[in-house]
């Protein structure tokens, strides 16, 4: 193990076995009393999370890409604020690293008042901008628990501004990646370490403020915890933190036991390998057996050693905490116990379980594709017994900007756009999805920020932001729409701007049971344009939405299709970039949508007349929006009859379908066509007839 690099830690995402002390302390735990006590701990983490959001400076911190959590002394995520659940869950592996490597190391140690910084993808499984600080909580010299404050800080000194370079060719292009390292002792922040970080990243102001926000969060959480520990005893706290993890596992297991046994599978695609438009696949087969779920990712595309298309396995699994804790099991305590009745088989050398040195800046794309297949197979599984919990996925492509340069105050800045926090959520089995609901990854706490606030801190002028018309999937219940945006560069002497995300060439979030998925999502730039002139003349032809910009041709200039992702390019005063996030997938046959709901969608600017006529097949008066019910019924009946005419028998269809194939260029990194098969796997959780390796992989 050269230099403490440890390939086994990330295999330990599942909860540790209870220690004898934990077993002893949870033996007589009374459930109601424990529930009230754990709610108290939840309110403490919630206060911590609010502090993070209020004090931080990066886009992620200000708009909810944050988590505050309490961990057991051995590192398992136990209690966390509502927010970004995977940040909380994935902190487990960082703390397990500290406990294994630093607790008894005399030159480091773990003492009251310590704090450890960590952001390496190798342990916590996400990209380097996701930075965490953890502190041990001692009571009278005894380690009772750990607390964590985690934030996506945006800028980390990578080869492109904004922390998530599309063009990186190795992990060493991706900025600081620090394994758990002591950043504070005896409650004093080590200014020399903060100073180092400020010297190797582009936005020292945001870096410093985010670090101090984390420290403030941790200090307040510790301050609130101490009297609680004193009141109930450290032993009770130790028991309760393990108790809730086990109770969560038991509750999830019980619910799974009520579902039907069977096998389910889904494939999901990504259309970007770094800056190249190439196809990659996430594949998942689920076997539900009794009260356990077995997820098998065999068939997923291989890792790409010199391009952005890879994730550590632990990140792929941990990110599913968003869907599992935020949606499917929202009514069960939020901690890593949710994974106890679930096991994951991850192919070694796949993009979903990549080696240490491959670039990880785009690991979020892999996370999204892999979380989509998990949501897809679970939707298929649960409908028969829990139809009310079925939910189509919201847009997973991020589809935001990334930028850096000198701002209007003459200060350096770099970050990613808050627009990623404005996706539409998916439809449910009984209602439409929510428009511009938040970020997929932080469904309850994220928001895209206020334009005035963003403009005051960035050299941007927003031309518009609003409902991204037709960006949802269409169906009996439609997905919520995403958000469009256009940003004009304003008052910056030096700036580069690009885009981050994927989904400009594919549908990234599918619908369910006959509902359509989301469209491909354009992202463009307009250089040498006449927009300033139009603004000076108060021209009423200035576009107010993406559709107006694209369709009116009112702005003259040099248009470039850039797509998601696009490397940050130098831009100059007045240049315009425009795009939009996607909406959610739809549920059910669009011909079953109430025509009046279609008219309401038009009134609210959610869909176009073209969609109402051509997808929903509604006959109506475009001025009054009065529906002709009889003609609509006839048109829909005709469409159903047409489907029967044009549809082929499955066997006939497959004969010609399977002869097709994407171009060799598109498949450059895909792996064996059509299905890549692996021989070596890592197992997270138990797997029948498999003895797990404890060695881990590089």
């Amino acid at each position: 193990m050269p230099g403490g690099i440890d390939p086994t830690i990330s295999l330990r995402l599942h909860p540790e076995p209870p220690t004898p002390e934990e077993l002893e302390n949870m033996r007589d735990m009374e459930p109601t009393e424990a529930g009230i006590f754990l709610h108290k701990l939840y309110t403490i983490t919630s206060e911590g999370n609010e502090i993070l959001i209020k004090l931080g400076a990066s886009t992620g911190c200000r708009w909810g890409d944050t988590a505050a959590a309490i961990y057991t002394a051995s590192g398992d995520s136990s209690v966390c604020a509502a927010g970004l659940y995977f940040h909380s869950v994935l902190g487990s592996t960082d703390i397990k690293y500290i406990m294994k490597h630093w607790l008894n190391e005399p030159s480091v140690g773990v003492k009251p008042g310590d704090a450890f910084f960590a952001n390496t993808p190798f342990y916590r499984g996400t990209h380097p901008p996701d930075m965490a600080i953890y502190s041990p909580v001692f009571f009278k010299g005894k380690l009772v628990c750990w607390i964590g404050a985690i934030v996506h800080s945006g800028e980390c000194g990578a080869c492109e501004p904004g922390g998530m370079p599309s063009g990186s060719r190795s992990m060493y292009d991706e900025g600081i990646q620090i394994p758990p390292m002591k950043i504070a002792e005896n409650y004093d922040l080590k200014e020399d370490i903060v100073n180092y970080m400020n010297h190797v990243t582009r936005d020292p102001r945001a870096m410093t403020l985010d670090i101090k926000a984390r420290m403030a969060c941790l200090r307040v959480v510790e301050k609130r915890l101490m009297p609680v520990i004193e009141k109930v005893s450290p032993e009770y706290v130790i028991g309760a933190l393990r108790y809730v993890i086990q109770a969560t596992g038991d509750a999830v297991r019980k619910r799974i036991g009520g579902w039907n046994d069977g096998t389910f599978s889904s494939s999901q695609f990504v259309d970007a390998v770094g800056i190249l438009p190439r196809l990659m696949k996430a594949s998942c087969s689920l076997e539900k057996k009794g009260d356990h779920l077995y997820f098998d990712f065999d068939g997923t595309s291989p890792e790409v050693l010199d391009r952005v298309a890879n994730s550590p396995g632990v990140g792929v699994i941990g990110v599913n905490a968003v869907y599992l804790l935020g949606h499917l099991f929202h009514d069960i305590p939020h901690n890593s116990g949710v994974f106890e009745p679930m096991s994951f088989k991850m192919p070694v050398g796949s993009m979903a379980n990549a080696s240490r040195e491959s670039p990880k800046a785009g690991c979020a794309y892999v996370h999204e594709a892999c979380s989509l297949v998990v949501q897809n197979v679970l939707n298929q599984l649960i409908y028969a017994t829990n139809p009310d919990r079925v939910e189509c996925p919201g847009n997973r492509g991020f589809d935001t900007t990334s930028y850096g340069g000198i701002n209007q105050y003459g200060d350096p800045f770099a970050d990613a756009g808050a627009e990623m926090n404005g996706i539409g959520f998916g439809a449910r089995s009984n209602r439409d999805g929510v428009n511009v609901a938040g970020a997929y990854f932080a469904p309850m706490t994220s928001e895209p920020g206020e334009i005035e606030s963003l403009e005051s801190g960035l050299p941007f002028l927003y031309l518009y932001r609003g409902f991204h018309k037709d960006s949802c999937g269409h169906g009996m219940y439609r997905g919520g729409v995403g958000m469009d945006y256009a940003i004009q560069i304003h008052d910056s002497p030096v700036i580069s701007i690009g885009s981050w995300g994927f989904g400009s060439l594919i549908t990234n979030s599918q619908g369910l049971f006959g509902g359509y998925g989301v469209p491909a999502l354009p992202y463009i730039s307009v250089h040498n344009n006449n927009l300033k002139e139009m603004q000076q003349n108060s021209d009423d032809k200035i576009p107010g939405s993406a559709r107006e910009l694209y369709e009116s041709g009112a702005i003259r200039g040099t248009y470039r299709w850039r797509g998601y992702p696009a490397v940050a390019d130098p831009a100059k005063e007045g240049d315009l970039v425009a795009g939009g996030t996607g909406g959610g997938g739809a549920y059910g046959d669009p011909l079953n949508r109430d025509p009046m709901a279609v008219m309401r969608d038009i009134e609210e600017g959610v869909i176009s007349h073209w969609v109402a006529r051509n997808v929903y097949k509604v006959v109506y008066d475009e001025k009054s929006l009065e529906v002709d019910e009889e003609k609509t019924r006839k048109l829909r009946d005709k469409e159903r009859a047409d489907r029967k005419k044009r549809g082929q028998k499955y066997a006939d269809f497959v004969k010609t379908w399977l002869k097709k194939k994407p171009s060799e260029e598109v498949l450059e990194f895909y792996g064996d066509w059509p299905v890549k098969k692996y021989e070596k796997f890592d197992y997270f959780g138990t797997w029948p007839r498999v003895k797990k390796s404890k060695k881990g992989n590089w």
């Binding site: 046994d261 409908y383 028969a384 998925g517 463009i524 046959d589 379908w657 994407p662």
Partner: protein
């Protein structure tokens, strides 16, 4: 034994062990094989759902429809009533995934147990 609803648009008739359309009751194929084998299948041009490309300038256009070299839209219809049962977004020529395959024996046992407990 009753029909069991397993998706928005599909039932399984446990006596005959067949997939059935939930809308019209059309009996399809064996429930022990993928339901898609009993459907009518059509590759729908993506621009019929997402619209045609929009030209921004002489040599620049954008599209809300997926690029056909990356992804196609496959629709599965009920052969009885034309209901849209499922949609798959796949690269051209990619095998059709088996979305769901329930353990029929366990499903029947479960239904029997539930029926007995109601008695």
């Amino acid at each position: 034994m009753d029909k069991v609803r397993v998706t928005e648009s599909l039932d399984i008739d446990l006596d005959s062990e067949k997939w059935c359309c939930h809308s019209c009751g059309k009996v399809m194929n064996s429930a022990r094989e993928p339901f898609v084998k009993g459907t009518l299948v059509y590759e729908k041009p993506a621009n019929e759902i997402y619209g045609d490309p929009i030209k921004l300038s002489k040599d620049t256009a954008i599209s809300y429809a997926p690029d056909p070299d990356f992804m196609r839209v496959i629709e599965f219809y009920c052969p009885g009533c034309g209901a849209l049962i499922s949609i798959q977004y796949l690269p051209p020529g990619h095998p059709i995934p088996v979305e769901l395959q329930l353990d029929i024996d366990k499903l029947k046992a479960r239904q029997t147990k539930e029926t007995d407990s109601k008695k």
